[in-house]
Symmetry: C2
Subunit: 207 residues, 2 copies
């Protein structure tokens, strides 16, 4: 499995660059310093971002606007939206299913699956249909929002169904083949890190 | 506002160290290499983590077990749970309200607030009570899960109510005084970063 081509922070700024290149009046070439001034972003940062997606620009010229545009569109999936599915249609799963914002990254959560379907929700399907659905819709991205005690079982099902990238919200380490990547999401940890300064804990570092 | 004393990754491993120090039979001192072997973690990693929370250990001796324990307990809020509140009791807000896992970091989401209270949920309060509740309960951590068009208004209310750390799930940049820290959560970006490899985008990097 390839490593991501850029950091999460860089990826987060790519929609800005794409919108800028599309809306501003730019010639055949564009430089990192020009983009950095227009977007009020640090020049070093912009240079690093563009380098990650499109290699080094030419000295004193910069990038060919068209080439940069195409690269950004390709990474952000402008012409090729990737489908994803959720297993676990509880509160969190339903929240993600209804979330706007995936569009900007060429992603679409097209269905959720659950062993209990409590209400008539057209986007929530019974578990029995999972494998067939993934195969038919060519889905390779799965999101796990089930309780921890069934997470590994769901993970195994996903792998058998052709899922190669799993976003896991259950607080456990999943066992997967090497060809599958798992990203563990720990929301509690995100909040804890934010609140360290509120706690006012100090360190013994000499600096 | 102080910077966090350690990285999110380090913070994520601290509960492991705490549990280990409490359950294993350890003498008055303990070394990073001993902990690393016991937990099957890289020694460099453990050394870096412990250095961040408790400074350098003594050569060939390591850390005083008691001091290390106390430091971990203090950072993880073992004896001092911090309360947090949510504004926006929709699907995501409700999911966070019911989330287990904050305990390990000494955090507790004690209430959610919403302008519309649809069902009789004892942990969801009307917005009018927000400021009074925060003052009375000494709450300094706020979570925003409202739609983007009301996020800044809620943020302003939080600041006026004594909140100093805000975890923002609305996709917008919040304006706050310098004394307040904001962490922007972009769930779409997390998924997008994970799926870059599925997209198979490549880069022009020479390496």
């Amino acid at each position: 499995m390839k490593r991501p081509i850029c950091s999460k922070a860089t990826l987060g700024r790519l929609p800005l660059y794409l919108t800028y290149l599309r809306t501003a009046e730019i010639g055949e070439t564009v430089s990192a310093s020009h983009i950095s001034k227009s977007l009020s972003l640090g020049e070093v940062l912009v240079r690093k971002d563009l380098n990650a997606v499109c290699g080094n620009g030419k000295p004193k010229i910069g990038y060919h606007t068209d080439a940069l545009l195409k690269k950004l569109e390709s990474i952000l999936g402008e012409h090729h939206t990737l489908p994803a599915v959720i297993v676990g249609a509880g509160k969190l799963g339903s929240a993600l299913l209804g979330f706007e914002g995936f569009d900007a990254y060429g992603l679409k959560i097209i269905a959720a699956f659950d062993s209990r379907i409590e209400q008539r929700d057209s986007a929530v399907y019974p578990m029995e249909q999972f494998t067939h659905f993934c195969m038919m819709q060519d889905v390779h991205i799965g999101i796990i929002t089930v309780p921890v005690n069934s997470a590994q079982e769901i993970c195994d099902l996903m792998v058998r169904s052709g899922i190669t990238a799993i976003w896991n919200f259950a607080p456990c380490v999943l066992q997967v083949p090497k060809s599958v990547i798992v990203q563990q999401e720990n929301l509690a940890l995100s909040l804890a890190h934010l609140t360290l300064s509120v706690r006012g804990a100090t360190i013994n570092q000499e600096e």
